[in-house]
């Protein structure tokens, strides 16, 4: 069972990274989990304007800090970006299962947020990065993942450079909007390439209670917080 202990961590810094916002929380020595797992975050004290916490995967986490990259879109993320402390539950869910051999990191938009920690965790492994963004201002965060990342901007899709690398002799790790993940999964399946997807769904709880985060896996609606958020790509094609 996941640890559902909730802790309140002070903010070390809030930094603009292009159009996104990097939230750096001071670590407390508690469990931080592994790349691809997620936390439920809420500004502390809780804002009147946002009742539910927000589910976010860490951008990175170590003994000093836990960092999250936010796309400030509404009341909840705005409150987080202006908080002094953040209440945190987690780590929750299943993260990436790092496989031996070469790695290809594929991100779309704010989906890049989950990749810096994965890139660190891969260490000296042979790894490349493909990232797609709407605008150059969104793409600034690419440097957090990999300064040598291949970047494409709309209308080019990240699946275009990905297709040129197929069949990739290693594992593809992808995070981004659902249509992108579906396309990445289909491309990898076509070339029999191992692929893991970090998926996203609106969550109220993050620990299997609310059944809100339904995603189509193995042909039926499943709770992403229990099954994922990282899943084998073949499961979305069933």
């Amino acid at each position: 069972m996941p640890s559902l202990a909730t802790r309140s961590l002070p903010l070390l810094a809030v930094e603009a990274v292009g159009l996104y916002t990097l939230l750096r929380l001071q670590a407390d020595g508690g469990e931080v989990g592994e790349p691809g797992q997620f936390f439920m975050l809420q500004a502390d004290p809780e804002p009147a304007s946002a009742y539910l916490p927000r589910a976010l995967s860490a951008c990175w986490a170590d003994s000093g800090e836990i960092a999250f990259l936010l796309d400030v879109r509404g009341e909840g993320t705005r409150a987080l970006a202006h908080a002094r402390r953040v209440r945190l539950t987690g780590p929750l869910g299943r993260g990436f299962a790092i496989a031996p051999g070469p790695a290809l990191l594929v991100g779309g938009g704010i989906g890049a947020a989950v990749l810096p920690w994965l890139r660190r965790a891969l260490g000296g492994a042979d790894a490349g990065t493909l990232l797609g963004f709407r605008t150059p201002a969104h793409a600034v965060c690419a440097a957090l993942v990999d300064v040598e990342a291949t970047i494409v901007l709309e209308p080019t899709l990240v699946t275009e450079p990905l297709a040129r690398l197929m069949p990739f002799a290693g594992t593809v790790y992808a995070c981004g909007p659902d249509p992108m993940l579906q396309a990445v999964a289909a491309l990898c399946a076509e070339h029999a390439v191992d692929c893991q997807l970090a998926m996203e769904a609106p969550m109220a709880c993050g620990f299997g209670a609310c059944y809100g985060c339904a995603v189509r896996l193995d042909g039926s609606w499943k709770r992403l917080c229990v099954e994922g958020p990282v899943v084998e790509a073949s499961r979305v094609l069933g």
Binding site: Y51, P202, A204, F207, C210, A214, W221
Partner: protein, 311 residues
């Protein structure tokens, strides 16, 4: 943790509870997260056949709460009884199984089968789901239908029979009276309030099911009102819920006439809440110079001998 603490110990339809704090149906999966300190575990509603649930988006945040349209996703009666019940029986707290159906026969099948399992302490008849269009699961809007269904189920089980009611009716007390006449042992109220959220960009319904059920602090006054009036209209014990987020809410639900108080949506944002509410309730009872939370039950009706000391 609270074993033997008489300040908070209570009972519901003959079931001893260490505290008056339980979860609302569908707001906790104890097999994933544990019991989180609830005194009895209420399952998500089980139906005869498995249900995949409604298409996403299933939840949306709203002012002081959320709307949901989950659509009674559940593994169905067979899988629930064979796979889940044995594990739920090991949680160490009384088990209240919530059942639903699309016809009286479906309720009957579920009530009969689940009653046969010695691990089950009580049944909750869900006749008030806002997220399915038809069938018995929404008959909590009709007093006659409610009475007939409760009568049918009453004849099939010796377990305590709780009936979960919707506040989205003209007169919830009339439905409560019908449930009592049908042989119910207790009431659970309120289910979520029918509601909707519309996307501010697309100006279309946010939820895949169109409408949904509103929960969270936004519905607390609705819940208190329903509990108050059902307490007045019937002699049944009440599991009161709707927007409970803090110990003051627990006291207010007790005062309105609940014997037991349910926590739901607030668990989503704070999984430590049920255990904390039980501790804080015990402290509050002491601080008010009382000996038991049961002394608070119904005080809003002015029926207790002494006025409660103000804090």
């Amino acid at each position: 943790m609270f074993l033997g603490d008489q300040r908070v110990a209570t009972s519901l339809c003959g079931i001893d509870l260490e505290t008056p704090i339980v979860n609302g149906s569908g707001t906790l999966d104890a097999l994933v997260a544990g019991t989180l300190g609830v005194a009895a575990f209420v399952t998500k509603t089980v139906t005869l056949n498995p249900r995949d649930g409604n298409p996403p988006q299933r939840i949306a945040e709203t002012p002081s709460g959320m709307v949901n349209s989950i659509g009674l996703a559940n593994p169905g009666l067979d899988v629930f009884c064979e796979r889940d019940l044995p594990r739920l029986g090991e949680l160490g707290v009384p088990l209240i199984v919530s059942v639903g159906g699309w016809s009286p026969a479906e309720y009957a099948a579920a009530v009969r089968r689940i009653s046969a399992d010695p691990r089950v302490a009580a049944l909750e008849l869900n006749i008030s789901c806002p997220n399915v269009d038809s069938g018995c699961i929404s008959i909590g809007t009709d007093a006659g239908e409610t009475r007939r269904l409760v009568e049918l189920c009453r004849g099939l089980t010796d377990l305590p029979l709780l009936v979960k009611l919707s506040p989205s009716v003209a007169d919830v007390a009339a439905i409560a009276v019908a449930a009592e006449a049908g042989g119910a042992d207790g009431l659970v109220l309120i289910n979520t309030v029918r509601g909707m959220a519309i996307d501010r960009h697309t100006l279309r319904p946010l939820l895949g099911g169109g409408g949904g059920g509103l929960s969270g602090p936004a519905v607390k006054p609705v819940g208190l009102h329903a509990v108050f009036h059902c307490r007045r209209a019937t002699g049944l014990p009440i599991v009161g819920m709707g927007g409970v987020s803090c110990v003051d809410d627990v006291l207010q639900y007790l005062a309105a006439g609940s014997t037991v108080v349910g926590v739901g949506t607030a668990i989503f944002r704070d999984p430590g809440l049920p255990a904390r509410l039980a501790r804080e309730l015990a402290d509050e009872i002491t601080a008010r110079g009382l000996t038991s939370a049961s002394e608070v039950v119904g005080t809003a009706h002015g029926t207790t001998a002494k006025a409660l000391p103000k804090l």
